[in-house]
Symmetry: C2
Subunit: 346 residues, 2 copies
């Protein structure tokens, strides 16, 4: 259990002053004789000296950015986090990852903690609450970028999916196949993703003059098993849907599990489209038609935004970058057929 050598230890061991050692470490900050530098480098190596980040960030700034996602079990966020970490490395930034578990109170604590750590920037998927905390961080000059979701009236950069278009496209696909009773399971209407996907769905319907039926639309929470419940009530409908769009990434698994427990055949009885960028969606049977969120793109853009503000001027207007999601038609969606499983009801 040896004590960490300090810059002073190195200095005295090398027979120079701390200033010289400092200049050797952060090359370019001042002149150092080649010979002296070699000597210093050597002793640094020998003693295994490493400048402590804490002391360093006390005088200079931090090179750590905070990354806030809801939870890592959602493959969408897992991949997002993975990409952000990777990209950050390229930019010489550390990443402090935190998860809100979709809990506003937990998010509060996280934001406090990030402030304590004096992070240089934040990339987050906000719960929607804690506007005061966001304002405080903003006020402190911390560059912030929201990913996936946004909060209204907050001057913060946003990188998002083109939700309306994506949802509309998915709905159109089903309409093209002849479906009219199309169900939608989306996120909470308080979130931008939840609301906008319902909006896109609605527009697609309107364009074909098909009535919007509220009993077919479920805006459910991300946590819990609400996706399964929604499927349940949809199937219990007197006139069940012939197609289903699961636009709530976090609830895709639950919805599918519930479907698997019934006698419903996909796609014969029910065509299904899900919002998910998960490799498993093509491994299930039948392979699922999906709206694939451009996860990597979101990560890249988000990091670019904070990174830019980190270096550049902060006077810029908040920017919003919308990335289109790709619709991938697979085998879970087919032309509407007379619904055999509805027979028993009649």
């Amino acid at each position: 259990m040896r004590k960490q050598p300090t810059i002073r230890d190195v200095a005295s061991a090398a027979g120079v002053s701390v200033a010289v050692v400092s200049r050797v470490i952060n090359e370019g900050t001042g002149p150092v004789a080649a010979k002296t530098r070699d000597k210093v480098m050597e002793t640094i190596e020998e003693l295994g000296f490493r400048p402590r980040a804490a002391a360093r960030s006390l005088v200079s700034g931090t090179t750590t950015i905070g990354l806030i996602v809801t939870d890592l079990e959602n493959p969408f966020f897992a991949r997002l986090a993975d990409r952000v970490v990777w990209e950050a490395r390229g930019a010489g930034l550390q990443v402090q990852l935190m998860t809100t578990q979709e809990d506003a109170q937990l998010e509060r604590e996280i934001l406090d903690r990030l402030q304590d750590r004096s992070v240089a920037g934040i990339i987050a998927t906000p719960t929607g609450a804690n506007v005061d905390k966001w304002h405080r961080l903003l006020d402190l000059g911390v560059p912030i970028t929201f990913v996936d979701r946004a909060i209204r009236d907050l001057p913060i950069d946003v990188v998002r999916i083109e939700n309306v278009t994506s949802s509309q496209e998915a709905t159109d696909h089903l309409l093209d196949l002849g479906h009219e009773r199309i169900a939608l399971i989306s996120g909470p209407s308080t979130t931008t993703t939840g609301a906008e996907r319902v909006d896109g769905y609605r527009r697609a319907l309107e364009a074909r003059a098909i009535a919007y039926r509220s009993e077919l639309v479920h805006s459910v929470r991300f946590r819990g098993d609400a996706g399964a419940d929604a499927v349940g009530s949809l199937l219990d409908l007197r006139e069940p849907p012939t197609a289903l769009i699961v636009a709530n990434t976090a609830q895709v698994r639950n919805a599918l599990r519930r479907l698997a427990q019934t006698r419903i055949a996909i796609p014969e009885d029910l065509s299904v489209v899900v919002f998910d960028d998960n490799p498993w969606t093509e491994l299930v049977s039948p392979p699922l038609s999906v709206v694939r969120p451009p996860t990597s793109m979101l990560a890249v853009h988000a990091l670019e935004l904070v990174s830019a503000r980190l270096r550049g001027r902060v006077t810029d207007e908040p920017r919003t970058i919308s990335v289109p999601a790709e619709f991938v038609a697979r085998s879970s969606t087919v032309t509407i057929t007379p619904n055999p499983w509805r027979a028993p009801h009649s």
Copy 2:
């Protein structure tokens, strides 16, 4: 862009000394009059003062532990990370998450960085390299716990799965079903998980006096598409296997994808068992028989170990905790049948 208030700002605003403010913040470190404390608390609230972690950790220690996993795209690690973060919160610890991408060089950098940050402890899935760095950290008195994998001859706590038993159990299951040509795709033999799972497989075979055939065993890397390649060469065998165990968590998806691209029917042509704790394994068709790693348990134990060393005496011998994995039989494994798809070859 306001500057953060310091403890001095609070002190002068409240008309007291910094010492008092400090004592108010870390209650219990010294006597403070109730009246004074209220006054100080009030100004702290008013100014929005928060003690900076950097300055704090300069004099005291850190409350941050480093968590190193290979990558977040592997659901196993994603879940592990999620649980560790959660448990850590309960213990009042922050988590600094880093990913090695299975790259030894990257791991080196990460370990350096963790040292720079003066982390209070480390939980890691080591690549197997950088023994010198681990030794240094150990030497510095940093409590370390390895999860899932271990490195020989390093006095470090380990939380692991009972690999030999798990693998043996999976193999036994297939043997019970009458299979004799059982293929195994495992991790690199340089990793404990890779080697031990082959070992368990081997023991099961020996117990039934069935010859071990090396052409049926593939120890492949975690990264890349080696799992698919392995499946390819197994199917190209003159005498293909009738059963397959994919014991390489990271390669399960690739192996299954490759399988899906062929005309092989599961389980009719090939019984399949995979090591995976992923919800999707029961959503595919047929639902897969799996060896389910007790991910949450691993996380809990790992945190307990570092947490214990953090507070307690460091003199203890390194401990190893082995957690059994649960075998879940589903529909992808059946009694061996005459192999119809082998007919064309004969």
